[in-house]
Symmetry: C2
Subunit: 449 residues, 2 copies
Amino acid sequence: MHEHLKGKELLQFLETKSAAEIKEALEYIHPADILDALEEYDEIPLNILARIPNEILVDIIEEAEEEDKGEIFGMLDPEQKLDVISEMASDELADMFEYIEEAEAEELLASLDIERAQELKELMQYNPKSAGGIMAKEFISVKDTMNVKDTFKYLQIHGEDAESISYLYMLDEHEILKGVVSLRDIVTSEFNTPLTELVNPNVVSVPVDMDQEEVAQVFRKYGFAGVPVVDFQKKMLGIITADDVLDIVVDESTEDFERMSALAHHEQEYLDSTVYSLARSRIFWLLFLMISATFTGIIIEKYEIALEQVLILVAFIPMLMDTGGNAGSQSATLITRGMALGEISMKDFFPVFFKELRVSLLVGSVLSVVNMLRIWITSRELKLGITVSIAMFFTVLLANIVGATLPLIARKFKMDPAIMASPVITTIVDAMALIIYFQTAVKIYGITM
Amino acid sequence: MHEHLKGKELLQFLETKSAAEIKEALEYIHPADILDALEEYDEIPLNILARIPNEILVDIIEEAEEEDKGEIFGMLDPEQKLDVISEMASDELADMFEYIEEAEAEELLASLDIERAQELKELMQYNPKSAGGIMAKEFISVKDTMNVKDTFKYLQIHGEDAESISYLYMLDEHEILKGVVSLRDIVTSEFNTPLTELVNPNVVSVPVDMDQEEVAQVFRKYGFAGVPVVDFQKKMLGIITADDVLDIVVDESTEDFERMSALAHHEQEYLDSTVYSLARSRIFWLLFLMISATFTGIIIEKYEIALEQVLILVAFIPMLMDTGGNAGSQSATLITRGMALGEISMKDFFPVFFKELRVSLLVGSVLSVVNMLRIWITSRELKLGITVSIAMFFTVLLANIVGATLPLIARKFKMDPAIMASPVITTIVDAMALIIYFQTAVKIYGITM
């Protein structure tokens, strides 16, 4: 029993044992763990790949990230390649094909049987972030004439190749989805029970062009292990399983985190990334925002006379800007996250607007009063206190409203709401805060510009 | 066939039809959709709850959020309550019990059969964010003497009550987990196949005290539909299913988004929240950060003489602060997210440190050069250009290093890394940026303080 082989031990085993011993040992090791071990190599030795049985290679490649799939596949010999592409799950295969050179891809497609080649071409034509782009073609369909025993026999032949057998789909002669039978109901029923007695005709399906984020919402709402994908005529095209959705949810969140922190999207894990690629993913937004921030410089220069007369005004600029930025990103995060989870959409624009207005009146008042008190206690400068407090109040008000509505407006114009959420809003709020602040100061101190 | 009843239509149906008609119709409507419709009411009418069959009430309550579970449950009559708590999945029941008053909870516990009451007490004693806190007790265990046919018979009796039957767990006489058999292998095998032929002895399990975020990582890595939970002796205690993990991943991300935007945690959806509760979730951090920002004011006041002599320095304060804040939150986000996904941990402290150092040398240089050029082109002020560029370089350097290491240090001290990620870092970086900037200016301009 080699059940506890992992990491380095596993590699040593692979390096020294015969193909037969390897085959026996790998059967009980999860392919994700084998992949983990292989990733210790900078380049996987060819003699190791040659000794891993093809059916396990398929599983390992399926576990790998998209680019890595292509990389491992590229190292296989021609015969292994053919075996792997005919055995691999269609959704994983379609993902991998994106990373294979066109000439080789054409050649490989030609070597597949016609039906499978067509499936693959179909999958590759969908937007990779839509239901079609993430579905697999291998689902189990049943007919309304079958009973439980027939189904078991059918599964004994076709079950092995399916992406999931938790749900079986009842299709009519035109492949239109008519109902769903859960495997659980089948195994807990008598053999002679007709499937029509077990079928649920009210089947939840997703359209092939649905965005993957919405697909994830369907899974979250219903807690399904799998969801069928249909075209506009309800013809069943494929299946999406819960494990794919978990990755989607994590990836979408990661992208939102990146956007909110002004990072370009970056496929690799941090520790595996080069310094150069990390720097590249940061520099664009830093430059863009730095240059945008020169606006704030221009505003300050415009009010130089005011500053000359009341230099103490400078001391409150960072606090005003930071508080405005924080208030804006609080609103923006709430709205962006709500949109990502399908809780808030453009139709909620006015409710959001008025809610933020009221929240900011409350929050802005508290912050203004605290500021007023602090300045009065520490310096007794009434004019300063009034100026800072008024500026604080209106900055928070505008920051909240801009922060909450900009992501909604962005979505309306097909832009990503998250990009608006934090850094862009900070820049806008900074400029607004300064203008409000200086205008208030000019009025309160009676400065002639 | 009432398969398409949803929302208002469904409510109208529930309000007007007889209990028998309702029972028939609801059978094919997913409980999540029934719950959705019921949530349209501010308070669900009692006469509607009375007409929904108890077994469907169980499903509806299971779908509800934790607090709402308690609320709906509280509206039921005593007989319905007893029925619901004896039918509900143990993990959902344990969650709901947190929202039931102690006296009533005691009473309800006493009315349950002893075994179930004990299960429930066991579940309630675990940390709600650990494997024990999210697992259910209803798993299927099999013995090594069973074959496929025996298993089917066993499932026909016990399958209905299980949380999931995708995996069956082989336990010895001490309930120690010895292996896992997938339902898929069972249904694709001959009836007389012994389970020992199908069992995988190398079963991936999670310890009962594992943090739920790590549990999610196990699911992501292996793509399982369910994972067994064991104690330190490998005694099997329960099962966690993929649909629960999807919610965990979403909730954990939402919490991280909140922390990164200086928001207190907030259970309710935005649109359902009151203005007061939204304001409350924001005010603490805004006040805290506003007061911290007075530090920056103190620094500025300290360099008032420098500013009096070279007022133009003020114009670059916002840009320096913003760029420092952005650079810091880029690093912090990468590291925080990497930690949340289990890719980065404390042992990577030095690799992270040196990587950030090198990234910041690259990024800082680019930003400094761009600044230098811009100032030279627009104003020909060499001293100003040098001052701003030097300050920019060191600000980015420090921002990156503080941003990347602070979340790691926070975790070391059992604090949440995300809280360090954005607002706190901005405040620290602001202060550092100002000190660097003014010190550089004092040197370059030869200002005597």
